[in-house]
């Protein structure tokens, strides 16, 4: 009986985890876009975009590791926008 209850509990936990995953996937995608945009704005001068004064970019550069990694990943996957959307919508 105890074993059964534990398995039921485990199933519920898994179910709840699944729900959490689904509920946050859109938020996570939005967060990645925002972080990508943040790095792009600060370092945009390198790609010819309008950018804030260079010194502001250099001042913040030491703390932008995560955002730069995301920006590079995003620019690598730019050729496959559909894959991104399928990922967000959880297809496949």
């Amino acid at each position: 009986m105890k074993e059964r209850l534990s398995k039921i509990k485990e199933s519920f936990l898994l179910f709840a985890k699944g729900l959490r995953e689904r509920s946050t996937s859109a938020l996570e995608a939005e967060l990645k876009e925002l972080e990508n945009a943040f790095a792009l704005i600060l370092l945009g001068a390198l790609t010819g975009m309008p950018a804030p004064p260079s010194y502001l970019g250099i001042k913040l550069l030491p703390f932008l590791e995560r955002e730069i990694r995301i920006m590079i990943c995003r620019s690598e996957s730019l050729g496959d926008i559909f894959a991104d959307w399928f990922d967000i919508l959880d297809f496949g």
Binding site: R20, E21, S23, T24, L27, E28, E30, L31, L34, E35, A37, F38, I41, L42, A45, P52, P53, S54, Y55, L56, I58, K59, L60, L61, P62, F63, L64, E65, R66
Partner: protein
């Protein structure tokens, strides 16, 4: 009252001579004066007959300290500090010689203005801590206007960047709330209070606000426009007045220097028309001296002509 004076104008109109004369005049009247040049091509020491290339402030008399700011050293200091922080954060950069990379960055657009702004901030600290009058001999118009504009431009960008940063932190915290903090790598800030980037943006915002407010303060920050009796310098003066007005900074006094240098100019109707455009400004005229103006011969006489208007 403590005051700050900027001498603005086209290259060669006599900014250094007037700024130097004014500084020495104030110091002779028992004031504590700091005269600084932030022009990358200084000639302040030449005016006082000093050996060029001296680093740091030089005390010329009891009340007068003079300094030619080494703009390049501010850039080097800033880039060295950035390089140190980069190495601390990005561990894999330990092996790379970042200094060489930053040597190139030094020549990036906008960096020279930044260095001048850093020099200006240091000057303001000195001014706040015990100098009565700070007099600043500025670089020619283009560069100086950028310095006046940088705080406002920076504030616009910082406003937008802060908005974006807050959204990022909000999303991170929402995700962490649902899935747990382990969802993010260690050290990724989830809240404003932990975010170094947000704090740095706020610090820069405060500095820019302080400078922008100070530039626009007509009581403590006086802008002296130096002109010559020629079309180019007057047209450039008009540009300075117009451009500064877009950021609510006004020019307080126009000094028409070297009047009488050319007889042809005196009867030039076009020049008279141009000068009418600055008729709203108090104007002081300083005659052209045939002999070289040095601190000893004409300085007091020159400074007296416009000092009362500024104090």
């Amino acid at each position: 009252m403590k005051k700050l004076f900027f001498f603005l104008g086209k290259g060669g109109v006599g900014k250094t001579t007037l700024a130097g004369s004014f500084a020495a005049y104030l110091a002779n009247n028992s004031h504590k004066v700091f005269l600084a040049s932030i022009d990358p091509a200084h000639n302040l020491f030449d005016f006082f007959g000093m050996e060029p290339g001296k680093k740091g402030p030089v005390k010329l008399s009891e009340g007068l300290t003079v300094e030619e700011f080494d703009i390049d050293s501010y850039l080097k200091k800033f880039l060295k500090e950035s390089s140190r922080k980069m190495k601390k954060t990005y561990h894999y950069l330990q092996m790379i010689n970042l200094e060489n990379m930053f040597d190139v960055l030094k020549h990036s657009p906008g960096m020279e203005e930044y260095a001048m702004l850093a020099a200006l901030q240091e000057l303001l600290d000195a001014w706040e801590s015990g100098v009565d009058y700070m007099i600043i001999d500025t670089p020619p118009t283009g560069l100086m206007l950028k310095i006046f504009f940088i705080p406002n431009t920076t504030l616009l960008w910082i406003g937008k960047l802060k908005e974006l940063r807050l959204k990022i932190l909000e999303r991170r915290s929402q995700i962490a709330h649902i899935k747990g903090k382990d969802e993010f790598e260690e050290g990724v800030p989830l809240d404003v209070s932990d975010d170094v980037i947000f704090k740095e943006l706020q610090a820069q915002e405060e500095l820019s606000k302080k400078l922008s407010k100070m530039f626009a303060d007509t009581e403590i920050c006086k802008k002296v426009l130096v002109l010559n009796y020629d079309e180019l310098s007057i047209k450039e003066g008009l540009k300075i007045i117009n451009d500064l007005s877009t950021i609510n900074v006004s020019v307080d006094l126009a000094v028409l220097n070297k009047k009488g240098m050319s007889d042809a100019a005196a009867n030039n109707e076009k020049l008279k028309g141009l000068l009418k455009k600055i008729s709203g400004l108090t104007r002081i005229e300083i005659p052209f001296y045939r002999e070289q103006v040095t601190p000893r011969n004409k300085m007091k006489e020159i400074a007296k002509m416009f000092a009362t208007e500024l104090l």
